[in-house]
Amino acid sequence: MVRPYAMTRGRTSHAVQHRLDLIAVVVAEPHVDDPEDDHSLSPEHVRIVEMCRDTPQSVAELGAELDLPVGVVRVLVGDLVDEELVHVNRPVPPAELVDESILRDVISGLRAL
């Protein structure tokens, strides 16, 4: 067992995180090739980049998949944003979903499940 915040070297917050939403989507930058070559990164950093390379993942999914508390994921993602290895898409607040067709698509998608 590793103490979760050991991975963040004790940091519990990150300047760029601004409380990243649980459904903010982390996307690996296309120029990133082999993050494991970057020795400044921890194995968890590398895994996040790899996980987000083929399929962008939400903060919540990364936490569940890596079995890490959301707070730890936020710090690690913040590091990766600083290093320009990933970018983060913040979710659109529903009140700003100008295009109602998205919600109609959600309804038809649910019905088709």
């Binding site: 459904i23 989507v25 996307v27 296309p30 090739d33 083929d54 919540a60 109602e100 998608g109």
Partner: protein, 201 residues
Amino acid sequence: MILGRTERGTPPVEPVTLKILVAGGFGVGKTTLVGAVSEIKPLRTEEVLTEAGRPVDDTTGVEGKHTTTVAMDFGRITLREDLVLYLFGTPGQDRFWFLWDELASGALGAVVLADTRRLEDCFAAVDYFERRSIPFVIGVNCFDTAAHYPPETVRQALDLDPDVPVVLCDARRRESVKDVLVAVVQHAMAYTAEHRQTVTT
């Protein structure tokens, strides 16, 4: 890192993400509901202890402990490659209310699951969403052993606004849960449209 492989192919699709909260008292079927329509995963969140937790969380001897770990249910529904809906089961205990604010911000809407044998268990959730103007639907989970009441009776007992949908459901059945979620989205659409109108006029 040095040799960028730009010919890797088309960049991955960056989906639009939405979230719906599933609230209600302890044991009302939140986990069951999330599991009926999505692959469920437990999510850990470590949060700073606030005043709310102080009477309950005894930190005597570990005064340096300022965080507590809360587990909640979370499910993903991939509607389309570029459209993903997440469900979050809100922590049932009152002392984790501080977590709700984070969950609720940006939520499309919520399901408040109710058990007619313990209707009072969902009062807190109803209050919460009403005060924060988050559109919600009451899902009356029809347990086999519980007496069934018509939706209007539940509406009166909960003192709901007339526009809040009350849906009878079975949290174990996928089709039933789909109907509840569709009701949330439809209500959210109507709610947003109405809100826009009141803002512009």
